[in-house]
């Protein structure tokens, strides 16, 4: 069933449609959330929270403006950033014992959070740039400082990184088509 039909059904409060769309998008979104907050339990709550919002605000999604994934990605990112901001405020207002606990909270194996796929084939600075804005939720302005490069350079990194990824995906697609043709 096409996404557009499922989305239409979701907008009509069809639980089955939510279940199907969750099945399709939750792993990618969870990958983003867990890398951003680095906490399994909180990531699970935030994922659930994200899809509750998807359910409640589905009428606000307009397919003309962009892909469904992009829409959910933005919701998830906002939820994680809000959560992290609240946690930071808590740490700042509480005593040092809480602060010292922060490191203990990160219990996830770093290998688990390592990036996979085509991004691994990019040059390190391209990988890092994408990782910062995509998987860590930093803005371009925060990220260029993090990488210690001018904003213009950082933007170029991102654009070049995406261009390379696109080429790679296109190649994969062409290869797939050739393979399918050969198998016929």
């Amino acid at each position: 069933m096409s996404d557009l039909i499922l989305i239409k059904q979701l907008q009509n409060k069809d639980e089955y449609a939510l279940s199907k769309l969750y099945g399709k998008y939750s792993p990618a979104i969870f990958g983003v959330i867990i890398r951003m907050c680095k906490d399994e339990a909180h990531a699970q709550n935030l994922l659930q929270d994200t899809f509750i919002t998807v359910w409640e605000k589905s009428h606000q999604y307009d397919p003309e403006k962009g892909r469904f994934y992009t829409w959910i990605y933005r919701i998830a990112k906002n939820k994680v950033l809000n959560f992290l901001r609240k946690s930071d405020q808590l740490i700042q207002s509480e005593d040092l014992s809480v602060y010292s606990n922060k490191e203990d909270e990160i219990t996830i194996d770093s290998e688990y959070l390592e990036l996979n796929g085509s991004i691994k084939k990019l040059e390190t600075h391209h990988q890092r740039a994408l990782e910062l804005v995509y998987f860590e939720g930093l803005t371009h302005r925060e990220a260029h400082k993090e990488m210690d490069v001018p904003l213009g350079t950082f933007k170029s990194y991102i654009r070049q990184a995406l261009q390379k990824l696109k080429e790679h995906y296109s190649k994969t697609l062409v290869l797939l088509i050739v393979l399918i043709d050969a198998l016929r």
Partner: protein, 261 residues
């Protein structure tokens, strides 16, 4: 802003990542709407972003989905329950109201029907009562009359005289009771012979040779009171034209009797 500038500024990536404020966001959306090529470029960008996401997907535990579906079900169930409760309350109230209305209606109909029956019965009783009253009146009247006659007849002051018909009416006989104290005359007409339709019997009292009218004898009544005439010496009966006469027709005298002084 030209297409090339937009692409090179990296603003589309920022838009995609949700980093822009609302005015910048609107600006980009307008640009995308008015420029198909730019829109196509953006579509590819989105696709790449999504593929990057899918390649780095991490399967969440099944609990999350279970909780999610439970949570949205709970919300909608709560609404349903609230609605159900409200509609149940409303339904209950309506049912109670309808029941009361029905009971009242049945009560009114029953009372109305009972009232009608009672009215009919009352009418019957009234009718019967009227008949009884009429009967009673009639009986009372009869009794009074009979009692009156009886009193006069059995009174010690009453004297009985029998007028026997002569050859003009040999089978006639009238019994008369004269009471000089009560000043009354009562006669029994039972044995008077029948007359033609244009004739009546009339009774007269003889007072010092003059015949004085005592009244027409109504033969339909068995007992009959006649006019009492003071100092009457005899009682006489004549046959007269219908409605009576001023003077007796002596040739038609059928009977007479002398009274004791």
């Amino acid at each position: 802003m030209k297409r090339k500038d937009i692409i090179e500024s990296g603003i589309l990536e920022q838009y995609l990542l949700g980093e822009l404020d609302s005015s910048k966001k609107l600006e980009i959306e307008n640009a995308l709407n008015s420029d198909t090529e730019l829109k196509n470029y953006f579509n590819e960008l989105e696709e790449t972003f999504e593929q990057l996401g899918q390649e780095n997907a991490i399967k969440p535990p099944l609990d999350v989905k279970t909780n999610l579906l439970k949570s949205i079900k709970n919300n909608s169930t709560e609404e349903t329950i609230i609605n159900d409760t409200k509609s149940f309350e409303l339904k209950t109230l309506l049912t109670i109201a309808a029941s009361i209305a029905a009971i009242l209606l049945i009560g009114i109909l029953w009372t109305y029907s009972e009232l009608n029956t009672t009215k009919k019965e009352l009418q019957i009783v009234e009718d019967k009562n009227q008949i009884l009253i009429d009967d009673l009146n009639s009986v009372t009247e009869n009794l009074e009359t009979t009692t009156k006659w009886l009193k006069q007849i059995i009174s010690p002051n009453s004297r009985q005289y029998v007028l026997i018909g002569n050859k003009l009416s040999p089978n006639s006989k009238v019994i008369s009771y004269v009471n000089n104290v009560d000043k009354s005359v009562v006669i029994n007409t039972k044995e008077l012979a029948k007359l033609n339709a244009n004739q009546d019997y009339q009774m007269w009292a003889d007072v010092e040779g003059e015949m004085i009218n005592m009244g027409i004898i109504d033969t339909s009544k068995e007992l009959l009171a006649m006019t009492y005439i003071h100092n009457a010496e005899s009682l006489n009966i004549t046959i007269e034209p219908k409605g009576g006469n001023d003077h007796p027709t002596v040739s038609k005298l059928i009977s007479n009797v002398y009274l004791e002084p």
